[in-house]
Assembly symmetry: C2
Homo-oligomer: 307 residues x 2
């Protein structure tokens, strides 16, 4: 069922102002030996070079939302947006998405301005390989409940860059301002990547990874800032909520504060776990924070079928 | 010698991604009553509306470096850069720079990704009015040695937006990521502005402010990141230096770390006080941190000459 993962790519700069990944990718492109293991050697990659050059998230549109089949197979030529052209290139390099030629795995490095620490972003809990990988990272590198973030809402198609490969994992480290590289965030990111590569190496050697139970956070919905009729943001993240990613938020707790210093309370029916609180890139996406539920999943044992 | 300050402007969004000032300016443009005092009413102002709309520092060039007389009096028409046109407009609104028609005072609100807390940026210690203002803020609002940052190097002309008025003060609050508004930074900025307005009100009422001695930090030079021959940054701010703005740095202390984890040490002859450490907007300006010396100044008493 599972085959060894021989063709692995490590991507930074999918968002050009998330600097841990940008600096690590550029470093590994010059010195790739850190990405080498007994059973494979991962390929370093810079996702969005134009955005990286300008230190912006993207030039024309968010590259990490550009990997839907509809976009990858669209036929307009010549006057395409930069990130659409780039997504098609990446799909040729490491895909095509959904095909047998696709690379086995992509690790995609991200940073957030939110106080999320290290967070492991997986598309769905049915992705047993990546859930084992997350479990391995928690047990062997971070030694804490480094949250697993399940990002797919309902049956939507995966739109992220790692969906061109057969499997993928996005690493999110925060807080780090856009356009800034902090040594602590970079070190954390580097440790995560190395731990994932170690897991893949063990997996490729035929190690049996036994069944386990694990907690993960699943996206329920996204909450926008309160806005006036002209679309202007009318209240900001409440100081009690700021930096409290993955803490429990109960109905009646303050979530926003107006500039007249009035509190706006959370009116949901159930307690949630907010994440991506005050992420800089999400103002334009109309997301003040993501609303998550905490669930428990049973993951069966896996072992690579050796060739 | 000193006249009451009747025409005062409070500016935000001189840099369009420094969000405490952006949010406060937009709020005060709708509800200006907070800027009212007995003796005057300050005018709220949004410095760079196009950059604010795009949530970028600037569109064509840094507005806060565009107020040299040479730029303000240049004659090219039509194909000018946006911020040059805007600087000329602002010079007409609140200047002209150096003229008797100029507004009396500008408070300009800034944020930094550096861990600087609240910082009061003054052009020179000979500016007694602003030095008194800083002393008042330290004694009455922050109750701490909120650093005074003297930014002029040698005899260079003031290039900042507040130089169009007869006098000015830039307020810097950090850390806050670019494009993000944090309730704590916004509250701090708001308190600083109100404290400055309170000072101006007392000054306008004829209060005598006695002579005092005060410490301030004066810019000596700026330190770039280590770069390769192709201009790429080869080392990042050392974890021991990160977030240590205004702490003493001695020769031999580590300042950078390469991606091979080698330390680069400070080689200056004398201890300095680094500031604007790892400011996001300064990567392109080739500034990893500003090197400051701490000096003590004697400021004479002042009193407004009543009309």
């Amino acid at each position: 069922m599972f085959k060894p993962l021989k063709r692995v790519v490590v991507t930074g700069g999918t968002h050009g102002n998330e600097m841990s990944g940008v600096f690590l990718s550029k470093h590994w492109l010059k010195n790739p030996c850190e990405l080498q293991r007994k059973t494979f050697s991962a390929t370093p990659f810079l996702g969005n070079p134009h955005a990286t050059e300008k230190t912006v998230r993207y030039v024309d549109q968010d590259l990490n939302r550009s990997f839907k089949t509809e976009i990858l197979t669209s036929s307009n030529e010549g006057d395409e947006l930069y990130e659409i052209k780039r997504a098609k290139e990446i799909n040729q390099l490491y895909g095509p998405k959904g095909s047998s030629q696709a690379y086995d795995f992509m690790i995609d490095m991200h940073n957030t301005t939110a106080n999320m620490g290290a967070c492991l972003i997986v598309d769905s809990p049915e992705n047993y390989l990546t859930m084992h990988m997350a479990n391995y990272v928690q047990k062997n590198y971070t030694h804490t409940k480094t949250p697993i973030y399940l990002y797919k809402l309902g049956n939507e198609e995966s739109y992220a860059i790692d969906s061109v490969c057969k499997n993928g994992l996005a690493l999110e480290v925060g807080p780090q301002p856009q356009g800034v590289v902090r040594a602590d965030a970079l070190k954390h990111m580097r440790g995560l990547v190395n731990s994932v590569l170690d897991f893949i190496d063990l997996f490729n050697q035929g190690t049996t990874f036994p069944a386990f139970e694990i907690e993960a956070y699943k996206l329920l919905a996204r909450e926008d800032y309160p806005r006036s009729s002209d679309g202007e943001i009318m209240a900001i993240i409440h100081p009690n909520l700021q930096d409290k990613d993955f803490d429990l938020l109960n109905p009646g707790d303050p979530i926003f504060q107006t500039l007249d210093e009035k509190d706006i309370l959370y009116e949901g029916d159930n307690a949630i776990y907010p994440t991506f609180i005050n992420e800089g890139a999400y103002y334009e996406k109309k997301v003040a924070f993501a609303k998550m539920e905490k669930l428990r999943f049973s993951i069966p044992a896996i072992q690579a079928q050796m060739e």
